[in-house]
Amino acid sequence: MIRISELAIGQGDFRLEDVNLSLPDQCYAILMGPTGCGKTTLIEAICGLRPICNGSIYLGNHNVTNQAAFDRNVGYVPQDSVLFPTMRIDHQIEFALVVRKMAKNDRRQRVAELADLLGIGNILKRFPQGLSGGERQRVALARALAFRPQLLCLDEPLSALDASTKSQISSLLKRVHAQEKVTVLHITHNPTEAVELGTIVFRMVDQKIVQTSS
């Protein structure tokens, strides 16, 4: 269970107050809301990239509210993938495993497993320059999943893709969720995505989160 209670975040003049959210384990949660309502700010706070004024964040039984981003075990896929520009794709995917000092063979096995799952085996030796939007999104997903995070945060992962790639990545996200058994928090403002992917849907209304369906 991921639990966020009475969370308050301030960013300049913008403030999110009293945010409450509970995500059952292994659910695919969709958080909807208009542009500028604070969805990305919230997801960055969950990842530990933005300090909070008040409230708490629990991942399972662990209170991670005051933990640094590198200690949280939360995978993050930003809006436009944000790959490391000077790193080869296979090195990007194993980055989190190298940091955790995992043995080389285990790392290679995990990279191969993810490359197979996400269909990126043919681009592992390439650099990010020249990859298509869909390929970049697959690499960003593999990179965030490599260390088996407790929670995977996806910030509008389909928004910058054309219709056919969008449908491919959408099916891929379903498959990844089923196979990796990870709790997903997916931000979008597209209702079709919510219906297609979400097992539980939340909406941000007046800077408060309300559950609309499950």
């Binding site: 590198f70 940091v99 955790r100």
Partner: protein, 285 residues
């Protein structure tokens, strides 16, 4: 606009051409066989390289911290405490301004200030410690810093590092910091993020900063004159060779030393450009 640029280009070419016309090849050959000139070439190359390496060593982390402590980052980390936010912004501007001082100071002032600094008790104790270090390292001829070879390196470094820091700061400011944030969520600590994600992207800027620091050190004259002196075969670098020759009425010798200075600078600039290009071809951007 392009006409003005063209005029400037012509001016630079003219400066080099007239120097070459003033001195003959036999003058250059004669100078290159003079052991004092050869000594000053070697000393210039060694001190410039050491000063540039030291400058980069200081400039890379300093430029990174200054770039990443921008308004957004301060707000991201201290946004909840406005007074702390304002204090951090003020301190950042203060540090930034202090680091710019060597750029705006007249070179002679840098030399005089270094000389005065090494007359203070702290400076003297550093001088003694340096002398002991060089004796222990097998260079008993280097008796401290002031009026010795270390003074040349310190004088060059004091000015060159400020330019290198400015270049590295601009480099890191132009690099998107979002990959670094993603790297944090992947479990990397700050140093790892800097080393594995930010630094490889800063390769062209680092080469540019090194070149600038090196070129700046090569052309440094005022602080060296005051702080290291112009003792022949001891603290004489190419820029001081030009000065000494001119001072003793040997204009031809001064021009030849200038030509050697120009040639060395051009070789290093071309080599740096080639290094940058090869880095780009290798996937570094």
């Amino acid at each position: 606009m392009s006409g003005l640029g063209g005029l400037y280009l012509v001016l630079i070419i003219l400066l080099v051409v007239v120097d070459f016309q003033y001195a003959s090849w036999s003058d250059i050959r004669e100078s290159l066989s003079d052991e004092r000139v050869v000594f000053s070439i070697y000393l210039s190359l060694i001190t410039c390289s050491l000063a540039a390496i030291l400058s980069i060593w200081v400039a890379v982390p300093t430029g990174y911290v200054l770039a990443r402590l921008g308004r957004d980052a301060i707000q991201r980390h201290l946004g909840q405490k406005p007074w702390l936010n304002r204090l951090a912004q003020f301190l950042r501007h203060l540090v930034d301004t202090i680091l710019d001082i060597p750029i705006v100071l007249p070179p002679l002032v840098v030399g005089i200030s270094l000389l005065v600094l090494f007359q203070t008790p702290v400076g003297r104790s550093i001088d003694h410690a340096t002398q002991s270090f060089f004796s222990w390292a097998g260079f008993p001829g280097i008796r401290g810093i002031t009026y010795e070879i270390p003074a040349i390196i310190l004088a060059q470094f004091t000015v060159a590092a400020a330019f290198a820091i400015r270049t590295m700061r601009n480099t890191f400011e132009q690099i998107d910091d979002r990959p670094e944030l993603v790297a944090l969520t992947l479990g990397a600590r700050r140093f790892r993020v800097f080393h594995s994600v930010a630094l490889p992207q800063a390769w062209p800027g680092t080469v540019a900063a090194f070149t600038l620091a090196w070129a700046r050190s090569l052309g440094e004259f005022g602080p060296i004159l005051i702080f290291a002196g112009t003792a022949r075969m001891k603290t004489e670098v190419l820029s001081t060779t030009v000065y000494l020759n001119f001072q003793f009425g040997n204009l031809r010798g001064a021009v030849v030393a200038s030509l050697i200075l120009i040639s060395v600078a051009v070789v290093v600039l071309v080599a740096t450009r080639l290094l940058l290009l090869s880095g780009r071809k290798g996937g570094l951007r």
